[in-house]
């Protein structure tokens, strides 16, 4: 684990790219995915450029599965320089593009495209980070972070998975913050923290919450029972915290 104010020797970046064709920006203009991918590749290479010891993993997240786009699980491609680009960057670019094509080709045609499996991809990323930490040279200070690039909206069905993954990350990993603390960063976008009913997205001030997993705010008992995952008596939750604009 890296302390916030101590620079790390090696930084691992995991990028999760949502490649689900169901995303609105892809439906509107399929060529946009290529632009997004080019930007992700340039960003990943810039990360590798910072230090010789930096590492990278890119995970493609589709609706039927998530896969490592880089590093390639099998033997790496035999890449030779064709222009002045550093060989490693060429390898990253070619590997990502080749494996993405394979991932898209492997999507089952009969099924209608579903939701992106982002929680699963996040879990894959966390496992990769854990593994690279275990096999690091002893004494080497490592730090890691995950970047998720997605055009999908929030999905209720994966809420529990998201929560599991976030708590794991919070317990085990700290972000590489020592560099960020020095720079003046642009302001964060506003996140809407208001509670909304899971099934109909109606804003609510008082609702029903499952007492087991503390998830799922619902306006009425009927909605709760429809979505209930746990056979438990429900708990009435009160209050809708509207954050003071000054705090954000």
């Amino acid at each position: 684990m890296a302390d916030d104010d101590v620079p790390s020797d090696s930084s691992l970046l995991v990028v999760i790219v949502d490649t689900n064709p169901n995303q609105r920006y892809i439906i509107e203009d399929p060529k946009m995915l290529t632009n997004v991918l080019d930007a992700v590749v340039a960003f990943s290479n810039s990360h590798l450029m910072q230090k010789a010891s930096n590492e990278l993993a890119v995970i493609g997240c589709h609706f039927h599965k998530s896969e490592y786009l880089y590093p390639s699980p099998g033997k790496p491609l035999d890449v030779r320089q064709i222009d002045g680009q550093y060989e490693l960057f060429t390898l990253v670019e070619k590997t990502i593009k080749m494996r993405l094509v394979n991932l898209i080709k492997s999507q089952p045609q009969e099924e209608k495209p579903g939701e992106s499996l982002l929680a699963g991809a996040l879990a894959l990323g966390l496992c990769f980070i854990a593994r690279s930490r275990r096999s690091a040279i002893p004494g080497l200070r490592t730090s890691s972070r995950i970047l998720v690039v997605t055009g999908s909206a929030d999905t209720a069905a994966q809420y529990i998975n998201y929560m599991n993954v976030f708590f794991t990350a919070q317990w085990v990993f700290l972000p590489e913050a020592n560099e960020r603390s020095k720079l003046v960063l642009p302001g964060r976008g506003r996140v809407d923290y208001r509670a909304a009913c899971f099934c109909h997205r109606e804003l609510l001030t008082i609702g029903y919450v499952c007492s087991v997993c503390l998830s799922g705010e619902f306006t009425t008992l009927r909605h709760f029972e429809k979505a209930a995952r746990h056979e438990n008596p429900l708990v009435v939750a009160a209050g809708n915290y509207i954050p003071d604009p000054v705090d954000q």
Binding site: Q50, G84, Q85
Partner: protein, 480 residues
């Protein structure tokens, strides 16, 4: 290379400390015209970029795609006020290396603009375009390809030839006259007045205790200094070296298109173990780990570990060191800071005693170098004992330093040493320290507190943190 800069400032004794400049210091000592020609090589731009301080790297990448000059005030506003000093340091580094220049903005405000050649070639190395660095794309696959473990063993064997020669052991074949000339030029060896043979100097001993990447880099720096004399262009050589350091281990690269001078340079690198070639006329070569680690000085996996040689030192808590080796070189290195008491065909036994450490310190070797050497060569299972040894020996060091740098004690409490206390430099340092710190009891107490705190930390932290702890410990002890 913060280790070397620390050792420069902690020089407690009159003998000169080894000057180990990193790439930036080396470049700053060159003329701006030389740098101009250097930045035409994408490899150099990438190498220089990677060694910039962290804020400077962020500045460069933000300016990389901007064509006009950017106001200096804007660049200053990128960093929060608390880090203004770091920001100033980043700006000076970029100016000294001619990576950016001052450029006025229409309207009169001062601005920054990246040097054209640097900008263009860094972009090429990141995104593509331009010419390939070598003609390797047309190489046929090698029928007799060599794997990584072979390359590691080869590199280790070749590099150790140089080190063996330095300690005068006849265990390995000698080295070329060129290599001897470089060692003499670097001050690591000197011609003996009587018989003209080369003998190792104090600086040479310090060199031997450095980590292998540092040794290689220092050696190459001196090679480049003498390159001009042999009509080799230092810029071309440097570019080729960095090209090597960016290659992939286990892959072969073509010699096609290389100038005669570069082919000569390649043969020298082959002798020192940085590249492997089956035959001199073979059209391809394999870079080894020694070449790749030129840039990764701090984080490189040690070559010895990669070559399968596990640490051969076993440390005991009674200050004894058992070295399971028959290599003259390793024995000589151990003898630098321990008192050797037994030698068998495959084991050598030494004691880390007060006298032996003091002798090492007098010879210009720093405590940090000793710790680093022990860490590099200790058997993995006793690695943690290095820390233990030094926490216990922390008091030994304290005593050694106390005697070497005498501090006044109440009369009648001499530590039992019979002879007169060393005078001269030690005494004047002590006098200055007294003036700075205003009294000894505080210093002694503080040192004790530091040692206790470190012992606490060792008891609660996992063994993997030993490197950080060691340098912490070394710094604290030696600097006070």
């Amino acid at each position: 290379m913060s280790e070397s800069s620390k050792s420069k400032s902690l020089n407690l004794n009159p003998s000169p400390t080894l000057q180990c400049k990193d790439l930036h210091e080396y470049l700053k000592s060159r003329s701006p015209q030389f740098l101009e020609t250097l930045y035409n090589y994408p490899t150099i731009c990438l190498a220089v970029y990677r060694e910039l301080p962290e804020l400077a790297r962020h500045f460069v990448i933000r300016l990389l795609f901007v064509e006009q000059p950017v106001p200096q005030a804007v660049v200053t506003s990128w960093v929060s006020q608390t880090y203004a000093k770091e920001q100033a340091k980043a700006c000076t580094t970029l100016s000294e290396l001619s990576v950016w220049q001052e450029a006025p903005i229409p309207g009169g405000m001062p601005g920054w603009m990246l040097a054209q050649s640097f900008k263009k070639n860094l972009k090429v190395s990141l995104l593509g375009g331009g010419r390939a660095w070598s003609m390797s794309s047309s190489l046929e696959p090698d029928g007799k390809a060599r794997d990584v473990s072979f390359l590691d063993a080869y590199a280790l064997e070749r590099w150790e030839c140089v080190l063996h020669y330095m300690v005068g052991s006849a265990q390995t074949e000698g080295i070329s006259a060129d290599a001897v000339r470089i060692l003499l030029h670097a001050g690591l060896m000197t011609r003996d007045a009587e018989d003209g043979s080369a003998v190792i100097t104090r600086a040479g001993f310090q060199f031997l205790l450095l980590s292998t990447p540092k040794q290689v880099w220092l050696f190459l720096q001196h090679y480049l200094h003498t390159a001009e004399r042999r009509s080799l262009s230092a810029a071309e050589c440097l570019a080729f070296l960095y090209q090597l350091s960016f290659s992939t281990l286990g892959k072969d690269y073509s010699t096609e298109g290389m100038s005669n001078n570069m082919l000569v340079f390649l043969q020298h690198l082959r002798e020192f173990g940085l590249v492997y070639q089956r035959k001199r006329k073979a059209g391809r070569f394999y870079p080894t780990r020694l070449a790749l680690n030129i840039l990764r000085v701090r984080c490189a996996a040690p070559l010895e570990a990669a070559a399968g040689a596990r640490g051969h030192l076993v440390l005991e808590t009674n200050y004894r060191v058992y070295g399971y080796t028959s290599s003259d070189l390793q024995v000589a290195l151990l003898g630098l800071f321990t008192e050797l008491i037994y030698r068998f065909p495959n084991v050598v036994v030494g004691v880390v005693s007060r006298e032996s450490v003091r002798q090492a310190l007098r010879g210009g070797i720093t405590a940090e170098q000793i710790i680093h050497y022990l860490e590099q060569h200790a058997h993995p299972q006793v690695l943690w004992r290095v820390v233990w040894l030094l926490i216990c020996a922390g008091s030994t060091h304290k005593l050694v330093l106390d005697e070497y740098m005498p501090t006044p004690r109440p009369a009648g409490r001499l530590r039992g040493a019979a002879g007169p206390r060393p005078r001269g430099r030690g005494a004047e340092l002590a006098a200055r320290a007294r003036a700075d710190h205003g009294g000894d009891p505080r210093r002694t107490r503080r040192r004790q507190e530091v040692l206790e705190a470190l012992l606490q930390e060792q008891l609660v932290s996992p063994p993997g943190r030993s490197t950080r702890l060691l340098s912490l410990l070394a710094n604290k002890i030696v600097s006070e």
